[in-house]
């Protein structure tokens, strides 16, 4: 049984998804979906434990040996990512049910479909992480993308529809670029297995086809991970999607795209080709810095708090790309650590906002006046998430910022380290704007709102406490992240 865990990781949500569509009422479907998510989390934890103890797991799908069959290959990097995605998946699934049932956001008949789509999206993300086959990445990418377009379009606001459409156009262009890139690699090597590709590429690396493949893959993946200036789909999609969907996508979708980028640049092409021959770091570094700076500034001027956090996500993605462009163990550790920490903080922030919109029905900044006193638990979680986002010591966000600054100083790039600190101050400003309105402005007299229900507070606080826990115990988000970075760079301890 345990040797089939890699397959079950993807098969369980995939099989649960159509079953959810058949179940009525929504609550029963939710119970099945929740069970599937919990099982996935359990499997991911077991896999990570096994990888750390025994090393890489290779699983031949359908018993077809690699490189002909599809290989699922789990090393430290993707075991860590699997745990992250399944954890967020389970927590947000618990959060999603009340927000859907409230004020008939989705009619009873449609609720099971939401869980189906959500599970399909989870399947796609897990598949992208676990697979060791380049074409399989594209297939799972499209599964997760198509379902996330649907999830976004469920938003109450009609602008959610145009946001979903815009994401569909840009996402499809990105995915098609990835498809072209993979095609070129296949032409040159005749294989799709990642390890096989890595072994055969050096012999043909100095050809225009491989360089073109590299370019197509870079652009395609950058579109999916919303690298500045290819981030235009992200703010609207996150701002108008339902709260639970925003929390889920913000914490997982772009992170998985960054994982795919790491896989292609480090495992398949190899760090030497990507960064020395192609000079990718010279492109990523300025884009990352420009993204961090401009998105943080734009975030300060937003009146919709969800949109503000969406721009902040673009800035945070910049930090992760900055870590990649340092091309060192410390830099990569910072990136991989920030993948995890950013998922925790943005999950907390968007779920806290979900609680707010559940009670008030809006997330406009001026409508939040005085809710710090009427909704102390919700705003308490928001503040913890905000502190983590800024990178205050004792929170998870501090760990990755610290590593990033260390990485920059290691390379002697002190202006970069300085910029990281400066842009953290910009984060202070936009988080403070919310805190100021929520705690120091009087609530309107006529409004009678109380604290959000417990079913919403429990998942929100689970992630909020995780922010504090992983700020103190860094064995996973810095320790395992370092092992993952070393395995990507091929450095032995």
């Amino acid at each position: 049984m345990t040797e089939h865990l890699p397959a079950l990781q993807v098969v369980i949500p995939l099989m649960a998804a159509p079953l959810c569509a058949l179940l009525r009422p929504g609550r029963i479907a939710w119970m099945l979906a929740m069970t599937a998510c919990t099982l996935c989390l359990l499997i991911a934890a077991l896999l990570l434990e096994r990888v750390l103890a025994e090393g890489v797991i290779s699983y031949a799908m359908g018993n077809w040996p690699a490189p002909w069959g599809i290989e699922y290959r789990i090393d430290t990097v993707n075991a860590y990512m699997l745990l992250l995605v399944t954890m967020i998946g389970a927590v947000v699934m618990a959060f999603a049910r009340p927000t859907l049932e409230q004020r008939a956001h989705l009619s009873k008949r449609k609720q099971p479909w939401f869980y189906t789509t959500y599970l399909l999206c989870l399947t796609g993300l897990l598949g992208m992480i676990i697979t060791g086959d380049a074409f399989n990445v594209f297939v799972f990418l499209e599964i997760s993308s198509l379902s996330s377009y649907v999830l976004i379009s469920i938003g109450r606001d009609r602008r959610a529809l145009t946001a979903a459409y815009q994401y569909l156009i840009m996402g499809t262009i990105g995915a098609t670029f990835i498809l072209i890139g993979i095609g070129f690699l296949y032409v040159m090597t005749g294989t799709l297995n990642m390890l096989d590709l890595a072994a055969r590429l050096p012999a043909v690396a100095d050809t225009r086809t491989v360089r073109a493949a590299f370019a197509f893959l870079t652009i395609g993946i950058s579109l999916k991970l919303a690298l500045f200036p290819l981030h235009l789909w992200l703010p609207n999609a996150y701002a108008y999607a339902p709260s639970a969907v925003t929390a889920f996508l913000a914490a997982t979708a772009t992170k998985v795209a960054i994982y795919v980028m790491l896989r292609f640049f480090f495992t398949i092409f190899g760090a030497q080709f990507s960064f020395e021959t192609m000079g990718l770091d010279a492109i990523l570094l300025p884009l990352a810095l420009a993204g961090i700076f401009s998105a943080s500034v734009v975030a300060i001027f937003q009146t919709n708090v969800k949109r503000m956090l969406a721009y902040s996500s673009v800035a945070q993605i910049g930090y992760m790309i900055l870590g990649i462009s340092l091309v060192s163990v410390t830099g990569l550790t910072a990136t991989i650590s920030h993948l995890f920490n950013h998922a925790l903080m943005k999950g907390t922030l968007f779920m806290a906002l979900g609680c707010v919109s559940y009670q008030i029905g809006a997330v406009r900044l001026d409508r939040l006046a005085g809710i710090g006193r009427t909704m102390p638990w919700t705003m308490g979680a928001f503040v913890i998430g905000g502190l983590s986002l800024i990178g205050v010591p004792l929170t998870a966000g501090f760990v990755s910022k610290w590593l990033l600054i260390l990485g920059a100083l290691e390379r002697g790039w002190w202006p970069v380290a300085l910029l990281v600190l400066l842009t953290s101050l910009l984060a202070v400003i936009y988080i403070w704007r919310v805190v100021e309105v929520a705690y120091f402005r009087p609530a309107p007299e006529d409004r009678k709102i109380g604290e959000a229900p417990l079913v919403l507070l429990i998942p929100t606080w689970t992630l909020a406490l995780a922010n504090l826990y992983f700020g103190l115990d860094t064995s996973l988000n810095a320790g395992v992240a370092r092992l993952a970075a070393q395995s990507l760079l091929g450095v032995t301890q």
């Binding site: 594209f138 198509l146 529809l161 145009t162 569909l168 072209i180 095609g183 296949y186």
Partner: protein, 119 residues
């Protein structure tokens, strides 16, 4: 001669650029989807071309044939075709809903209406 010999790759490039241009330049949401479709279809031609071997037959074991076309890219592109259909269907469904919500499928008119809402 090489340029003529690789004509299917040239068709791929021309189609891809046409599709891409339509996606960027048109403001009508349906026309954008048509462009996206052409863009995706061009990649099908790329994959199908790369599997073909001149003089090769279908990949079936027979006594007479020794050269076979590579079936793998064709199988791969079947998956991508399915994805393309799903994307188009979903895109069109979104356009229908946008039309219901805004009463138009012209990008600039939708944009103008959204601007009003933001104020």
């Amino acid at each position: 001669m090489q340029i003529l010999g690789l004509y299917n790759y040239w068709i791929f490039i021309v189609l891809m650029m046409c599709g891409f241009y339509v996606v960027i330049s048109r403001g009508n949401l349906v026309k954008k989807l048509v462009g996206l479709n052409i863009f995706q279809t061009s990649v099908f031609i790329l994959y199908i071309s790369m599997g073909k071997i001149i003089g090769g037959t279908a990949p079936i074991l027979t006594e007479t044939a020794t050269v076979y076309s590579n079936p793998v890219p064709h199988v791969l592109i079947l998956t991508a075709i399915v994805v393309g259909i799903a994307t188009t269907a979903l895109g069109l469904a979104l356009v229908v809903r946008i039309n219901e919500a805004y009463g138009t499928i012209e990008e600039d008119e939708i944009h103008a209406q959204s601007e009003d809402e933001a104020l």
